[in-house]
Amino acid sequence: MGYAAEFSKGIIKENPVFKLVLGMCPTLAVTTSAENGIGMGLAAMFVLVCSNAIVSLIRNIVPGKVRIPVFIVVIASFVTIVDLTMNAFFHPLHKALGLFIPLIVVNCIILGRAEAFANRNPVLASIVDGLGMGIGFTLALFILGSVRELLGNGTILGVNILGAALSAAGMTFSPVIVMILPPGAFIALGLILGVINRMRRAEA
């Protein structure tokens, strides 16, 4: 597979959230708004690219039986380094993303890609894979966050859309608060997965 294909597969064909259904904890927990989705997605992408690169570098030294503990050490160290460095030198950014960084440790997309891809492929391909998967993850979180924010608050990225549209039509907008609450995450994700599967079937 060429680099272009490695890159693009993570976005649609093997989208980590909509197709692989990986990393559900951060996906469901933080997508209360589109902005949070983007923040979590970008932070995860950064760690994913770095950990993919390192795992790929050491893949020939690490014995197969201890690879999972090694991956976990690498990923956890990376997350901590990112957390500290961002806190020290990009403090405002850290304030915005700080909540999500520790969550990345438990994001199984990172471990999943280390195991399924970086462990078997050269460094450059692994980095490209990490980029593609990261963008796919960010996109999925953005979509999920947008749907929930739109229904639960009437806005996307803080811009009032539904409320303004409805009041223009002479109706008042009453937010569906359950969409921002945890159950809304499952409802929205379930519906989106249904639509995507339907579209896939139609294609095939």
């Binding site: 949070n36 690490v62 201890v66 050490v73 690498v74 160290s77 460095t85 806190n87 921002i180 609450l181």
Partner: protein
């Protein structure tokens, strides 16, 4: 056997390398993080005291005051116009909430800002972004809130602070933190302001209405008069109006 040894060595080496890398990163970032936090605290203090900060007012940091690491004082000459300090609580929805509170010398709230929290984004986290909600913490009917004129509980608990949509726990925690801060200020006001507030002077005047009227704005304007007015004006509400039941009820929650 050889395999086992190899596994142990590789895993061990990687852990040691990771630990070394982390300790180095920690060492390098420790100072900048502390500086960034300090700058942030200073900024937050200036923000919550923005009502009194201006020409001729200087922000002074006092360390280790009555159990607080730092108190920022807006100093105009000899008169302390405002005090800003951190309050924190562990009764939020997740983790610690740290806020910066700004008070004038009478213990009226000038400003409040959430500095650090880990509440749920979109719900509890609105304590840090929802401006209308934050405004009601500071003022009621145009008057600054303080320990005496406000029942520092959310409405659901019988108090007078609105909760947030889908989030009651975080606002409840904020109320508790502010109340604790106000009480801390009341208990340490003498040390902070430097003027004696004779508690004995309170008892002879049992009339609850008289002292409340003159306090609010007139005395605040002129720094010079504050010294004379304060001891008489301030302690009165504290003793006459603080309804003990409030404290009792709060403890049970």
């Amino acid at each position: 056997m050889k395999d086992l040894l190899r596994m142990a060595v590789v895993l061990g080496v990687i852990c040691v390398v990771a630990a070394l890398a982390l300790s180095q990163v920690y060492k390098v970032t420790k100072e900048p993080i502390a500086q960034a936090k300090e700058a942030e605290a200073k900024e937050a203090a200036a923000a919550v005291l923005s009502a009194v900060v201006g020409d001729g007012v200087e922000m002074v940091k006092r360390e280790n005051v009555a159990g607080k690491d730092a108190v920022y004082v807006a100093q105009a000459g000899d008169a302390a116009k405002g005090f800003a300090f951190k309050v924190d609580t562990n009764s939020g929805y997740s983790g610690k909430i740290v806020g910066m509170i700004g008070l004038d010398a009478d213990g009226n709230i000038l400003g409040f800002k959430v500095v650090e929290h880990a509440e749920t984004p979109g719900l509890g986290a609105n304590i840090a972004v929802n401006e209308p909600w934050q405004k009601q913490l500071i003022a009621k009917d145009g008057q600054p809130r303080n320990l005496d004129n406000t029942d520092w509980r959310v409405k659901k608990d019988g108090g007078e602070i609105d909760a947030l949509t889908g989030a009651t726990i975080s606002p409840r925690a904020i109320c508790g933190a502010i109340k604790a801060g106000l009480e801390w200020f009341r208990d340490n006001r003498v040390e902070l302001t430097g003027n004696a507030a004779p508690v004995e002077a309170v008892e002879p005047t049992p009339d609850p209405d008289a002292p409340i009227v003159p306090t609010p704005d007139a005395t605040l304007e002129e720094g010079g008069i504050v010294d004379k007015n304060l001891p008489a004006a301030k302690p009165l509400p504290t003793t006459t109006k603080t309804p003990l039941p409030i404290q009792g009820k709060d403890l049970t929650e």
